[in-house]
């Protein structure tokens, strides 16, 4: 199995330890990753799309054209990148006018967008039955005693008419993967809530959403050992704001947030010294103690 790996910017430049965990997991699962040299920001679905939809689509089509030249489908490791690349792929299929307009610009710099490379997020890939079997066979350290909360975020699954994957109101793919690792997953009222990272003009929105979700998790009967997310924006939003909130309020908010491949790497027995698990505000100390690592 071979993919063009689209890294984006936030993970390789700010959170390279997430990339490390993902590459370790992919290698264990025999997924061959080819580098997309010269690719740019996806570009981000919030600001660039807001400023000019054509700029957003053209920069995205340039990235997709790089993968097309490699003759490979694209694998994304960030939900924002997934949203941009997949949405543009679908929009350009529907909108021939935009398709031609964008190619006219790309042709001038030596690119051609055809729409031949599909776009996949690793959650979509890992949730396929043959991959779940592979995941099961790769486990060296089952997560049997762990209670894990899955945060799907928004861009992975919505809008479903574009993402065409999982159930937008009752998502299950991440829970499937976590259960395959041996963990128990929890259901909670705010499971589908947004992390608020993209509501850029008002940080209160993010604080309110983070406080609600983390309080929800703390109030569950079962003690939640870790929350996992699949987007660097979500992970950093919860991690950073959770720490600030537990200082500012009298609540004890101390659930560590991991990027799903980090937890997979732990279950696959990857040396945790190379994973950079302490590179976050809420340290997963208790989690590692519980796992006897």
């Amino acid at each position: 199995m071979e993919y063009a790996l689209y890294l984006g910017c936030t993970i390789p430049l700010r959170f390279p330890h997430f990339e490390k965990a993902f590459r370790e997991v992919a290698s264990i699962l025999d997924i061959e990753l080819k580098e997309m040299h010269g690719s740019s920001c996806c570009p981000d679905p919030v600001a660039t799309q807001s400023l000019n939809v054509d700029t957003w689509m053209t920069l995205a089509a340039r990235n997709l054209a790089i993968a097309e030249k490699m003759g490979l489908d694209v694998l994304t490791i960030c939900s924002g990148c997934f949203e941009t690349l997949k949405t543009v792929h679908v929009l350009l299929e529907e909108d021939k006018g935009a398709f031609n307009r964008i190619n006219a610009v790309l042709n001038k710099i030596g690119y051609k967008y055809k729409g031949t490379s599909a776009v996949t997020h690793f959650v979509e890939l890992f949730n396929q039955q043959d991959m779940l079997n592979k995941i099961k066979n790769a486990i060296l350290k089952p997560l049997d005693d762990l209670n894990v909360a899955a945060h799907y975020g928004c861009h992975l699954i919505r809008p479903s008419k574009i993402m065409q994957f999982d159930d937008p109101e009752r998502p299950y793919s991440m829970d499937n993967i976590l259960k395959t690792l041996g963990a128990s997953t929890v259901d909670f009222a705010s499971k589908l809530e947004c992390c608020g990272y993209c509501a850029r003009l008002n940080e209160d929105i993010g604080f309110k959403l983070v406080e609600e979700k983390m309080t929800d998790l703390k109030n569950l009967e079962k003690e939640v050992d870790v929350m996992v997310a699949v987007c660097p924006a979500c992970v950093s939003q919860y991690d950073r704001k959770e720490k600030i909130l537990s200082r500012k309020t009298d609540k004890i908010l101390d659930i560590p947030i991991l990027y799903l491949p980090e937890l997979m790497a732990i279950a696959f027995g990857v040396d945790i010294d190379i994973l950079g698990l302490t590179n976050r505000s809420v340290k997963p100390t208790k989690l590692l103690e519980k796992l006897k690592i």
Binding site: P12, V46, V53, L91, A199
Partner: protein
């Protein structure tokens, strides 16, 4: 609630078509004002116009009110409005088009315009040049991660200019040309 009288002559009757002519936004004209979008909206309590009222105002032709409302920029892009609309109105995409129109009229929050500048200078939304690049490269090398091959910035800036955002990055280019 404050009362507001709007003169019918002040309504911009073409406003709705400026948006609905775009593929992906045709659905706009199907709105039945049921309010499902607003009831599930992540930021509904923070906006001056809730989603269904943005659409109503848009359909009425209240262009200035819509483009100057904080609703179009406060959105967290969670897509629940689009997901749940019984008539298939793609509100989150319509909102992006409204932001595009506001940008054309010069209404751009700094948080948004800065992003395109960073992309123009780095190819990425994270600064990646000079000392910053060295630090990042060193960190990646230590983790045994492959070297990053940056995009050709001339290509990136050509796209930005050709698609209509040249005015947001122009100063930077002028400055660089001035330095030559």
């Amino acid at each position: 609630m404050t009362e507001k009288v709007i003169n019918a002559n002040d309504l911009n009757k073409d406003f709705r078509y400026e948006i609905s002519e775009k593929v992906g936004a045709k659905s706009l004209l199907k709105c039945i004002q049921c309010g499902v979008c607003s009831s599930g909206c992540t930021v509904t309590e923070y906006v001056d116009l809730q989603p269904h009222r943005v659409v109503a105002s848009l359909l009425l032709g209240l262009k200035d009110i819509v483009l100057s409302s904080n609703a179009i920029w406060t959105c967290s892009l969670c897509h629940r409005c689009t997901e749940r609309c019984p008539k298939g109105v793609d509100y989150s995409f319509i909102l992006a088009l409204l932001r595009n129109l506001a940008v054309k009229e010069g209404i751009i929050p700094k948080e948004y315009s800065d992003t395109i500048k960073v992309i123009s200078e780095n190819g990425f939304v994270v600064p990646y040049h000079g000392g910053m690049k060295k630090t990042i490269d060193r960190r990646r090398e230590k983790m045994d991660l492959p070297q990053i091959i940056s995009p050709n910035l001339d290509e990136i800036n050509y796209i930005i200019r050709e698609t209509g955002l040249g005015n947001l990055i122009k100063k930077e280019v002028d400055k660089k040309e001035g330095n030559k």
